[in-house]
Amino acid sequence: MLTPAFVGRRLLGLVVTLLVASVVIFGSLYLSPGDPAALLAGGSTPNPEALAQIRADFHLNDPFWSQYWHWLSGLLQGDLGRSVVFRSDVVDLLASRVVTSLMLVVYAATLIIVIGVGLGSLAALRGGRISTAVTVVTTIGMAAPTFVAAIVFVWLFSTQLGWFPIYGSGSGLVDRLWHLTLPAVALSLTWIAYVSRITRSAVSAELESEHVVTATSRGLPRRSIVRHHVMRNAAAPVLTISGLTVAGLFAGTAVAEQAFGVNGIGALLIDCAAKQDLAVVQVIAMFMVAAFVVINTVVDVISAALDPRLVASAVDA
């Protein structure tokens, strides 16, 4: 049973991890040997007045912890700071892009979970030729990194087939989804293969488990054995792996968006990194790390709700 103590511990761990991560990300400003003000100016060498302005804007003359507190409380209140390179508030840079990236992640996550879990379960439950076919498909999928899948898609669909738009983000919900199809597929291919392999082995292990022999010996209908004893028991490990995969997708958007010219936060992150716009990079990095940690925590808690043994072992530990 899910105890408040278990959930509380996970939440505490989440907050601690996020706090430490935020110190690391903010503190990275001081890892670089140069002048932080010059760094925030994007590596260029602006005139002294401009540098003084940046120092004032970013409170660079304050002690470190005061600066950090200013930055963190700003983040929590929706004041994400200002990009010197783009001469714009970071909030404005992110506003429209976050929605696009979220759509891309949700799209890819849906593909990963539906197709990955579907193929894996099918292979495990049916076996034989279907299993072999799934092995072949997943082997190819595992070997298709996002950027290579992307150029193959661009080539296939731009010059050969022309079914999907190759670049851009589109407008309106349906058109945007249409534009996001190829990026989502390119982003999800490897992970579909990965999740389907994990699912297949989890479901196979449950199918051969002794408690399924018991269920069979009691004359239960095959359908309910598969549902209540095989799939239900495989759910926790499959969910954990899927969650880890989906949590990592935010970082993966960088490649998919860049490859297909999608205007999301991933592409912005790369652009800002190349231009050394640290103010924006810090915010996006923090956002991606937070998304990763939050999704993982949620998945941990759901897995524990699905498998009571996990709570017991966590409490013992």
Partner: protein, 332 residues
């Protein structure tokens, strides 16, 4: 004589191992009458568990099975899916050795116990729960309502095995297959659990096929004993007559091999040598490599089960064994 409830007739089973098929049961014939308890005794690997699984058709998918198994006259190997499910759901129940592995860890005890009633018997959850609570009290679990809400990892092995016994009884079967039901438990719990199983079986007049490596235990709770060695039954005899009239050297060895807990200070005589697996048996008698009486004849000629002194024995020299027990059993 009326036809028995369970009749295993020249059962032969081969299992796929690394591509090749290996024989695990050579020729097993055994019957259990209604209300009768039959012990199937042998060392590990002798095929006793396989025999029980074959009765429920729980062997691996590519197993080759020949011979026949009849339950109340109906051939189990020939049953269609619906009849097979009815057999498993209503007529035969199995108790497994390791309850921790054999009870689904993610569902509550209540779900596990009521599941078959709800799905097979179409009983409502509340009615099923009421029946299950009564049964749990019978197997000696007093705070049944609380236990129903717990999960398997919160219960001890002994309690879990009682739950397993309750689960077997809940469908009111006619035959129970108990596969080493106390082996995974610690010694004190073993006796309690065995006593509960024995009592409930007798009260209900159920038939039981009791699988164990412990000949004395089997003799104590069963009416008749089948002794298995390397995939074959070598002796089949009334449990009360076993000590005086066993006719197979292996049975005699097993009787001597059991440590006597009553402090009789009898020397512990194990059966010397390594037990053979069924697939290792070539021509001749499987036991000859460990047998003191082995003669050249035992290497060529497979002894068949034959009627001797009220039981059946598969040994060429059964008469001599019966006559000269003193030679083999030093403390006799």
């Amino acid at each position: 004589m009326t036809s028995p409830l369970l009749e295993i007739d020249r059962l032969r089973v081969r299992l796929p191992v690394n591509g090749a098929h290996r024989t695990v049961l050579h020729e097993v014939s055994l019957s259990v009458a209604a209300g009768e308890a039959v012990g199937l005794v042998g060392e590990s690997g002798s095929g006793k568990s396989m025999t029980a699984r074959a009765v429920m058709r729980l062997l691996p998918p590519r197993a080759e099975v020949s011979g026949d198994i009849r339950f109340a006259g109906a051939s189990v190997p020939e049953m269609g899916a619906a009849d097979l499910r009815r057999l498993r759901a209503d007529d035969v129940a199995m108790i497994f050795q390791d309850p921790r592995a054999h009870i689904n860890p993610v569902h509550s005890i209540g779900d596990f116990l009521t599941e078959s009633l709800r799905l097979n018997g179409k009983v409502t959850r509340s009615a099923a729960t009421a029946r299950v609570v009564a049964l749990l009290k019978e197997v000696g679990i007093s705070d049944a309502e609380r236990r129903l809400r717990q999960h398997p990892h919160e219960l001890s092995g002994g309690l879990l095995q009682r739950v397993m016994i309750a689960a077997a009884l809940v469908a009111e079967p006619r035959l129970i297959l108990a596969d080493e039901p106390t082996t995974a438990l610690d010694v004190t719990t073993q006796e309690e659990v065995m006593a509960i199983l024995d009592e409930l079986r007798r009260d209900r007049g159920l038939a039981m096929l009791f699988i164990t490596h412990d000949l004395e235990l089997a003799a104590a709770v069963c009416d008749r004993i089948g002794v298995m060695y390397a995939g074959s039954i070598v002796e089949d005899r009334d449990a009360r007559e076993l000590h005086e009239r066993s006719g197979h050297p292996y049975t005699v060895g097993l009787l001597g091999a059991r440590p006597d807990l009553l402090g009789d200070r009898a020397p512990l005589v194990a059966v010397p040598g390594r037990p053979l697996s069924a697939y290792e048996v070539g021509d001749g008698c499987a036991f000859r490599t460990r047998c003191e009486l082995a003669q050249p004849r035992c290497g060529d000629d497979v002894p068949q089960l034959r009627e001797i002194a009220g039981g059946s024995v598969a040994c060429h020299f059964a008469e001599q064994v019966l006559d000269s027990r003193k030679v083999v059993l030093p403390h006799d």
